[in-house]
Symmetry: C2
Subunit: 198 residues, 2 copies
């Protein structure tokens, strides 16, 4: 334990995701000991981010404007919506350059353990968007884990009665991976989803 | 890449030690997305820490006062000084309750690669403190790595002519460790420093 404000800084840093007590201590001392303005700049940008950043009124992506840059982009296709758990996921998908439609951020996944049900997610907003007849396809891109799969299953059932193509991202072996080290579930999915190539 | 202030926040967080681009992104979104005041509290404590925390005029430890609590403590022995690289190390040693003397923080270790020589460390201040005849022992507690060992060797030579007992922390197998997984250097040191027990 340290005195006063140093311990307070360590405690605050330790509340960040992925930052344990040791890392928090290391970061705190780095911030205190460096002569440069790193700490003050970080304080400023934290304040600024908290003031400026809000969520896109349409898709729920983080944005500094009423609507995010993707929703405002006239070049994006209006026919398909890719459903993701978090804003972060949009960035990952954008890097692939495989998708030119719009997004919808759920704000998490169904997880009874931590008390997140469908009502806590932005599912009603999604249904509202889907009432637009121009939209013909929904791509479910939730995480391939328990919560993400549960959310996808829930949405597949919910959207079943609508005249919309619903698809899910493919599961299988990661590119560059090694068959030997693939877990049973992944390898099983890879078999299940095998594609004929001739 | 994100827009504006979000990317700025990610960049700032990515400059912290041990925080890579992925962690920085994760922390940034956590700070933006949580409704609570975590981000603003962190901004405040960063500012406060940068304003309040300075370095003890005697030993170089972090402190909110002119002298640190250890230097001001009348119960600590005045006869021995433990030399460490960083303020963080003081905390580690204090937890062992093995040492009741005072400390001296060098502010790093000799490392020609990143341009740190003896002149960049608080060695002159150490010599000044050692001119006090009351001090009879110096314990070198630099890190057991290349830079720390180089610093210890430099100090051993420098203090050689003085009438002071100079010692170095023992090297050997870590408690709770497994001989099988010990690296050659550590095991070699453990042999070299073996203690007769009968």
């Amino acid at each position: 334990m340290y005195d006063g404000v140093i311990q307070e800084l360590i405690d605050q840093l330790g509340r960040l995701p992925g930052v344990g007590p040791k890392s928090a201590q290391r970061i705190a001392f780095y911030l205190i000991e460096t002569d440069s303005e790193v700490a003050l700049e970080l304080a400023d940008v934290l304040r600024e981010a908290k003031e400026k950043v809000r969520f896109c009124a349409t898709c729920g992506n983080v944005s500094e404007t009423e609507q995010c840059s993707i929703c405002l982009d006239p070049k994006r296709e209006l026919t398909s919506i890719c459903v993701v758990e978090d804003s972060k996921d949009i960035n990952s998908i954008e890097r692939t350059r495989e998708f030119r439609g719009k997004y919808h951020v759920l704000g998490g996944a169904i997880s009874p353990i931590i008390g997140i049900g469908p009502d806590q997610l932005r599912i009603k907003d999604l249904l509202k968007r889907l009432s637009d007849p121009e939209i013909t396809e929904v791509i479910l891109a939730t995480n391939p884990n328990l919560e993400g799969e549960a959310t996808a299953t829930y949405l597949i059932r919910l959207l079943g009665s609508m005249e919309i193509t619903v698809s899910k991202l493919a599961s299988g072996l990661p590119v560059g991976g090694d068959l030997e080290y693939a877990d049973d579930m992944t390898l099983g999915r890879a078999f299940e989803g095998r594609k004929r190539v001739n």
